[in-house]
């Protein structure tokens, strides 16, 4: 290896397999939320620093005689990103389906991040409502990104409903607790080796995101950990680096953990070591 090669370029190989979501090739494996930033400018700067290709947006009540939505849309459309509208806050399949239809009309996209929320404390997905909504939205031509728990039976139902990407939570939205159940996430990954899987929610630190990528997850969707950081722009960049690193590690092939130590330095030729123990010591 050329010792004079700049360190930054070492090992920066292109991705082996690009991420494809519903037929669209996506360069960035970091999907970023647009909420909770200190200012619109910081949000825009953070999206650029994250090198994100997909950002999530919501639908909310427009204020009387207001154009708040249009102003936000102008801001976000100035960025080179694709929009993934969500159904955040919906509590029933019907609410989510109606919200998805409204989002499709406003944003002219079939993509919908489907959220059907079961519980206020955990914001955990209502899997029954989620499956019902996904089935109906699939019939109506939507391309559904379901926010789910890591439940395997729900995953199977969602795939049967036509979902071609699944988004299990890491831990509850905004909790920053990382991957609460890495074993179940690993099981899900093994069960659907070819389906795009995105860890959505609960990510608090770049190391959490890297861990998800090392498990073989295709991407990570996060918001709060960047938006509520002391310096959101810098944190966005840190997450982008961590996700790149985690993906590269997965593609490179991680070693299997072992219970016993194994010397990394060759044993052969170890000094001060004789097969016959010294006699007079």
């Amino acid at each position: 290896m050329n010792q004079n090669q700049p360190l930054r370029t070492l090992g920066r190989t292109p991705q082996k397999s690009p991420l494809t979501l519903y037929g669209t090739e996506i360069a960035s494996r970091l999907l970023l939320g647009t909420a909770l930033y200190p200012s619109p400018q910081i949000m825009s700067d953070a999206i650029r620093a994250a090198r994100a290709d997909i950002v999530t947006v919501s639908l909310r009540r427009e204020q009387a005689r207001g154009r708040t939505g249009e102003r936000f849309l102008d801001l976000i459309r100035a960025l080179p990103v694709r929009l993934l509208p969500n159904t955040a806050g919906c509590r029933t399949a019907k609410e989510a389906i109606t919200t998805a239809e409204m989002a499709r009309e406003l944003l002219e996209t079939n993509w919908i991040k489907l959220e059907v929320i079961a519980n206020d404390d955990t914001l955990q997905p209502d899997l029954f409502g989620l499956v019902a909504a996904a089935e109906e939205l699939g019939k109506r031509g939507f391309e559904v990104f379901p926010y789910m728990t890591e439940d395997l039976s729900a995953a199977e139902r969602l795939v049967a409903a036509g979902c071609r990407v699944l988004m299990p939570w890491g831990s509850p939205i905004g909790s920053g607790r990382g991957l609460a159940n890495p074993h179940a996430l690993r099981t899900l990954r093994a069960y659907f080796p070819d389906l795009p899987l995105v860890v959505d929610a609960g990510i608090g630190a770049p190391s959490h995101a890297a861990a998800a990528m090392e498990l073989g997850y295709d991407a990570v969707l996060l918001n709060t950990a960047v938006a509520k950081a002391h310096d959101p722009v810098r944190m966005a960049s840190a997450f982008a680096d961590a996700i790149d690193a985690g993906r590269a590690a997965f593609e490179a092939g991680l070693i299997a953990p072992s219970d016993r130590a194994q010397p990394s330095t060759p044993v052969a030729g170890t000094p001060f070591f004789d097969l016959d123990p010294p006699k007079n010591r």
Binding site: T34, A35, V57, E62, A64, G69, A88
Partner: protein, 73 residues
């Protein structure tokens, strides 16, 4: 509530009670100041596409949602 001049009906718009003279969703959207603004509408939980607003009639007690795009996670 009755009126001798204009027939007003009481409906709910984005969670607030409104007395409106509008007969249709299209008229309501304009009356509420959203004429020419990019919004999406629903009545009683059902999506009303923009092209159907003009022939979607409003009745007393209807719940109308008028939404636009916002920040989200």
């Amino acid at each position: 509530m009755t009126s001798t001049t204009t027939r007003l009906r009481e409906i709910t718009v984005n969670g607030s009670t409104v007395a409106t003279a509008s007969d249709t969703v299209d008229a309501l959207v304009a009356e509420q100041g959203f004429g020419g603004v990019k919004v999406a509408t629903a009545v009683n939980g059902d999506f009303v596409p923009e092209r159907r607003r003009a022939d979607t009639a409003l009745a007393v007690g209807d719940h109308v949602e008028i939404l636009s795009v916002r920040q989200g996670g």
